[in-house]
Amino acid sequence: MRIRTLFFASYKELVGTGELWLDLPAGSTVSDAVREIRGKGRGFDILPDEPAVAVNRTYAAAAHPLAEGDELAFIPPVAGG
């Protein structure tokens, strides 16, 4: 299945892109996706082991299962207000 991953702010600078499509085996979870992304090297490996993430614009846990077309966003520590 294919999912869309998003990077913001410092993460976007680290990995050099704001968006990346990812191919994952069916049944993959958020952790699987993070492992896959970090394995790409070139900045991706500097992302945290267990980053805060949102799936389809809602915060999600590492064990959250992913589905075809999901939007997985890596959320750096927030600093709004």
Partner: protein
């Protein structure tokens, strides 16, 4: 009416205030977060706010609804600015109104604290010496039960 928005336009303070108020309300409270000229001892010349806008809009609406329960009214308006801001410009405005003041203070405070905890927004500071840096934030804390899905 609960009003929330993420916007790149300068915040119209009077406009935000005008979105709350009701004949039965005795208390109106407006909070403005504004850009300061220094942070952690470093002189700041301006800041840039970046948002995951599609998600931030949902989070803002969600936490405003939570605040409305504390407020006991639906008179709440929250606007968060994104883009490049100068010193003294408002990055966030929170207006609430309610029959009694205790609820207004509690709800206003709730909104700003929750924004700091979980709104997907990041801040880039420009320093007087020409350098820039991302402001160290905090790991987001989803507050609602559905916020962390197993």
């Amino acid at each position: 009416m609960i009003f929330t928005a993420i916007t790149s336009d300068p915040i119209d303070t009077a406009g935000v205030l005008a979105k709350v108020g009701h004949a039965e309300d005795g208390a109106v409270l407006l909070f403005l977060g504004v850009v300061r000229d220094h942070n952690d001892g470093r002189p700041v010349s301006g800041v840039g706010y970046e948002a995951y806008a599609e998600m931030a809009e949902g989070v803002l609406a969600e936490l405003a609804a939570e605040a409305a329960e504390r407020l006991t009214t639906d008179r709440i308006a929250v606007i968060h600015r994104v883009g490049e801001l100068g010193i003294g410009e408002a990055s966030v405005a929170i207006a609430v109104s309610s029959p009694h003041r205790a609820e207004a203070y509690e709800a206003s405070r709730y909104v700003i604290e929750e924004i700091k905890k979980r709104l997907p927004v990041w801040k880039h500071e420009r320093y007087s010496d020409g350098t820039t840096d991302w402001v160290e934030g905090r790991r987001p804390e989803p507050a609602s039960p559905e916020g962390t899905r197993a």
